[in-house]
């Protein structure tokens, strides 16, 4: 178990810059999730930590030593791949023991460590099977078993659940969470799925275009997104954004409005605004409450209702033609075409100086 420190890490492929100076601190025993849209560089960053990609610039420290130029096997890491990367011609036992076979460990040691990993992952009954006889979830378990046997300082997961179906993904997600509690090891987990990020992480690192957008605890990022990108990326359904005009700037708030939104005062949290500029207002669909006729701050017409059971999602077109989503209680089903008015607490809204 160890700390991992990334300082000004950069990666170029020829002239193309894919990682543009990343600083991340991962504490001992922490579960850190790199999340971002595809192409944001999160997998590249993980592969640089693993040693599968060269680091163009910056320093990577694991446990206080710079490992930039160390072989992957000497960095004290273990990696679980999206495609499992288990060896098709070996049994589960041989796969899990692969690292020990490479190190020429004794038979007794192999048996002991494989049994231990199998116990942790509850796959004792699978040990003599071949990968072709296993389901996707079981294969990923084998890959995790192989990682456990390495007894690494840091576990690296590269989208480990992306090849699994939805139900299995949830099971495995919980298992990985439990594994982290049991082992207490540092883990770095890459995913494009914000649900996995929210559920698993002690700390989320949101990446976009090779840069860190925001780092923090899941709920911190959810409630206090630092910018428009993080605000839109986390949360399902994603946050509603509206173009608004700044009417006044006060000490802690700005007053904004637009044709379909009555003037409200929203805390600006230190972000700079000037009167008259166009800004973006963000409100999570969950914080919109239906209001009576003529009441409320937002006015529009229902165009679509989706019943999800636990909640009802309705899509509303506002007076100025823009669309927003509201997530309402389960039984508040509204038929398309009816007028809809919404109210919300301005303190739960976010205002960003940038426009979409």
């Amino acid at each position: 178990m160890a700390n991992v420190r990334l300082r000004n890490i950069r990666k170029n492929y020829g002239k193309v810059e894919v990682i543009k100076g990343v600083d991340i601190d991962i504490n001992d025993g922490e579960f850190v999730v790199f999340v971002g849209p595809s192409g944001c560089g999160k997998s590249t960053l993980l592969r640089m930590i693993a040693g599968l990609e060269d680091i163009t610039d910056g320093t990577l420290e694991i446990d206080g030593t710079c490992v930039n130029d160390l072989e992957p096997s000497k960095r004290g890491i273990a990696m679980v791949f999206q495609s499992y990367a288990i060896f098709p011609h070996m049994t589960v036992r041989e796969n899990v023991a692969f690292g020990l076979t490479i190190k020429k460990a004794s038979k007794a040691e192999k048996e002991k460590k494989v049994a231990e990993a199998a116990r942790i992952l509850q796959m004792e009954n699978l040990l003599d099977r071949r990968p072709s006889e296993l389901s996707g979830g079981q294969r990923q378990r084998v890959a995790i078993g192989r990682a456990i046997v390495r007894d690494p300082k840091v576990f690296l997961f590269d989208e480990p659940l992306s090849n699994l179906d939805a139900a299995l993904r949830m099971d495995m997600r919980m298992e990985i969470g439990k594994l982290h509690q049991d082992l207490g090891a540092s883990m770095i987990y890459v995913t494009h799925d914000q649900v996995e990020a929210m559920t698993l992480a002690d700390k989320i690192v949101v990446l976009k275009d090779g840069q860190v957008m925001q780092t923090g605890a899941p709920m911190e990022l959810y409630h206090e997104p630092a910018n428009l990108f993080v605000a839109g990326f986390l949360g399902a359904p994603s946050m509603n954004f509206m173009d608004v005009t700044v009417n006044a700037v006060n000490d802690t708030t700005v007053a904004v409005s637009n044709p379909s939104l009555d003037r409200i005062e929203v805390p600006h949290k230190g972000r700079p605004f000037t009167v008259g500029q166009t800004a973006t207002l963000g409100v999570r669909p969950q914080y919109l409450q239906p209001a009576g006729d003529g009441a409320g701050k937002l006015h529009g017409k229902v165009i679509l209702t989706e019943r999800l059971g636990s909640e009802t999602v309705i899509e509303v077109v506002l007076a100025d033609g823009s669309k927003i989503i509201a997530a309402l209680a389960e039984d508040s089903i509204q038929s398309p075409g009816t007028a809809a008015n919404f109210d919300f607490d301005p303190n739960r809204a976010h205002i960003f100086p940038e426009t979409r």
Binding site: A50, G51, S73
Partner: protein, 355 residues
């Protein structure tokens, strides 16, 4: 759009007929014809009617036995020795020519002999040249199949890298495959000639110590020379097959192995080689079958000589069937070769089966 043409069964057969007919005429019919002809005394051009002779062609080809010959003794029963102290043996032809005591050896000739004590064991066969061709072919296969397969794998591993200009190397190694084997054989005949390139190089590198030899004219080196040239010629083809096998192995398996700290050799042993299993079976069977069909090199370079040291089964089949116009004898050789290759392929498949 199902028109009458595409749904009509008769139209379908009509379309298939030309191809089907050609395959039948030039592959299926000759295949069965060979079986039939090998049981007759058919000659290529002959005024006599064809007669059914049963397995006589096979008997002529395959009859082989070991003749034990005791050394000659004088009246006192003592062994007769010549000036060098060597024993004297009666000539083999005294047993095989018109000797009513040994009807089983009639018409046979000596292939080779060894000594067991004072007794000479002489291997005699009705058709010694066929047996020599069989031995040469097997020796060729036994060397060419493993060496060519291994060399091709080595080359495939070398060129399966992301390097600038790697395609140039791929092209270079593949070039001999594209050149006609007849042309290649002609060129190598020049290389192997007494005043040829190979002798010049060897002489230059040994500072004149190496005296040139006629590689194809010496019965001890002729088959070896043809083996070397054949390996060189087709290695590129098998390299490409290995390469395609290598490229089906998922790169993440290599990454997983590197994270586990596998050395180059361990990576090959645990990742590459198991991943090449099916390719290996294919390459082995293809090389074996190609090696058994050795003909063009022999025909161009040595014509089977010197002293039958490079004659092969296919060469004998052609020589017999067309050279000597003994089409039934040639057919019998073809059938024997077919059964030989079939059984070896089946054995290989059995040995390399998925366990």
């Amino acid at each position: 759009m199902a028109s009458k043409l595409t749904t009509s069964n008769r139209a379908g057969w009509a379309f298939a007929l030309p191809g089907f007919g050609l395959i039948a005429l030039f592959i299926v019919v000759p295949f069965f014809f060979a079986f039939y002809l090998s049981l007759t005394n058919q000659r290529l051009i002959s005024p006599n009617p064809t007669e059914f002779v049963g397995l006589e062609n096979y008997r002529n080809l395959l009859s082989i036995s070991v003749l034990s010959i005791e050394p000659e003794v004088d009246e006192t029963g003592a062994l007769i020795r010549d000036a060098d102290g060597n024993l004297a043996y009666p000539r083999v032809r005294t047993f095989t020519r018109d000797n009513p005591d040994y009807p089983q050896y009639a018409g046979m000739r000596e292939w080779f002999r060894w000594h067991s004590g004072d007794t000479a064991k002489v291997v005699v066969a009705t058709d010694v040249v066929f047996w020599k061709s069989l031995r040469n072919t097997l020796m060729f296969v036994l060397v060419v199949a493993p060496v060519q397969g291994a060399l091709a794998l080595g080359l495939a591993l070398l060129i399966n890298q992301k390097l600038r200009g790697i395609n140039i190397y791929r092209a270079i190694y593949f070039m001999p495959v594209v050149v006609s084997i007849v042309v290649v054989s002609l060129l190598w005949r020049f290389l192997y000639a007494e005043e040829g390139l190979l002798n010049s190089i060897l002489s230059a590198f040994s500072f004149g110590l190496f005296e040139g030899r006629d590689w194809l004219g010496d019965e001890n080196t002729a088959l070896g020379a043809i083996k070397a040239m054949s390996i060189w010629q087709a290695v590129g083809f098998h390299m490409v097959i290995w390469l395609s096998g290598l490229q089906t192995i998922s790169p993440t398996l290599y990454e997983a192995a590197s994270i586990e700290g596998a050395s180059k050799w361990q990576t090959f042993r645990y990742v590459t080689w198991p991943g090449l299993r099916n390719t290996a079976v294919l390459v082995l069977i293809v090389i074996t079958m190609q090696a058994f069909a050795l003909f063009a090199q022999i025909d161009v370079m040595t014509n089977g000589g010197p002293l039958d040291s490079t004659t092969t089964v296919v060469f004998q089949a052609v020589e017999r069937g067309y050279g000597k116009q003994d089409i039934s004898g040639g057919s019998a050789i073809s059938v024997i070769l077919f059964l030989l290759v079939l059984s070896i392929s089946l054995i290989q498949r059995y040995l390399t089966r998925e366990k």
